[in-house]
């Protein structure tokens, strides 16, 4: 069970706090706005009204001991930059900061943010990937850079068996299921001798970069 602090309860911060809470983690939720703190009270372990730019109150909450601190103070670059600086000074180990532009992200990284989240850009990227991959029917993200994707068998693989294609050795990919056409049920863990036919849909697990190499050339 992790101990997480969320500073800034806009839409991203609010959802992060309540989802962590729902997942059984210990959540300290912080915001300068009493209304937002009140709304998170039933969805967090502890909810505090304070101005995150003040160093002492943050220090008093033993924030450095937390497994992760999430900072999402909105578009005010000065506030997020300042608080990031203070949190690094306090010794926060894992600091995840929400950025609102590419420059904002770069600035925060320089100051010491461990991870940047840019929800609007990330969502746009995933949408473009979803819509523009000719073969991509659906994908489930796993962790930072892996996914489980449904991919129509590329033309250059047809007529070959899974063991022949050596996807694991060549691409680091595993075929965990095959559906032979739209109407069929998924065959999980297809045997290595399975020969790919036109219209087969593969459920492939691997790194996003490696999965991209499956696209039609």
């Amino acid at each position: 069970m992790a101990q997480v602090a969320v500073i800034g309860l806009g839409r991203f911060g609010f959802h992060a706090a309540s989802l962590f809470h729902e997942a059984g983690h210990e959540v300290l939720a912080i915001d300068i706005d009493p209304g937002r703190v009140q709304r998170i009270r039933d969805h967090s372990t502890q909810a505090v009204v304070l101005d995150a730019r003040e160093v002492e109150p943050l220090g008093a909450l033993s924030i450095p001991d937390f497994d992760a601190v999430i900072l999402s103070l909105g578009t005010r670059v000065d506030a997020s930059a300042l608080v990031t600086l203070h949190l690094k000074d306090l010794g926060v180990r894992r600091l995840i900061v929400k950025a609102t532009s590419a420059d904002h992200a770069r600035l925060l990284e320089k100051i010491g943010a461990s991870e940047i989240v840019f929800p609007e850009r990330d969502a746009a990227e995933r949408l473009v990937r979803r819509l523009s991959d000719v073969n991509l029917i659906d994908f489930i993200p796993l962790g930072e850079d892996h996914s489980l994707r449904q991919v129509t068998a590329p033309r250059r693989f047809l007529g070959k068996s899974l063991v022949e294609l050596r996807l694991r050795n060549r691409f680091g990919l595993q075929v965990v299921g095959i559906r032979h056409g739209e109407k069929a049920t998924v065959r999980v863990n297809p045997g290595p001798e399975t020969v790919l036919q036109e219209g087969d849909v593969l459920f492939v697990l691997g790194r996003d970069g490696d999965l991209d190499r499956l696209k039609e050339e």
Copy 2:
């Protein structure tokens, strides 16, 4: 190459438009604000200033012929609801709408949005999943009687490598991930030479009946 229209050039819309453009698709970018339309001009095929609530101008742009229309008009529920309605009337096939709350999302779905994007909530969900890793892979449904389970490596497997254990041939099971103890991150698609140690947690995919055979005897 897809033909995509993006209506509303806030951060999500702007990134969606420019990323589609970068990916080689034809992009029509629309916004009521001339400044935003100007900024997208070099990152789109065509950029138009108009109020999306007006039905005729939208119809005149042959928007129904597009492969997808992305609508991200911000927090004004009335505007997005109205434009969603008009776009469905016009016969838009694939309408992706950005929502700013759960209620907003449900409303848009009722009116006919094909897909809802909720960047802040989606990003918060992914973050929680990433940080509480243990639960991450737990909920992938594949077929009627298959599951993906986390199983502590049985004693009789310790000291053996995955290829030695031949789980696929013997049990019809695939090990799609390993976590070496509570604190570690999940290693996806571990190599066949991986030797199982005490405390390893295996993410195993297969038929429920076969997974049961993995339990300690």
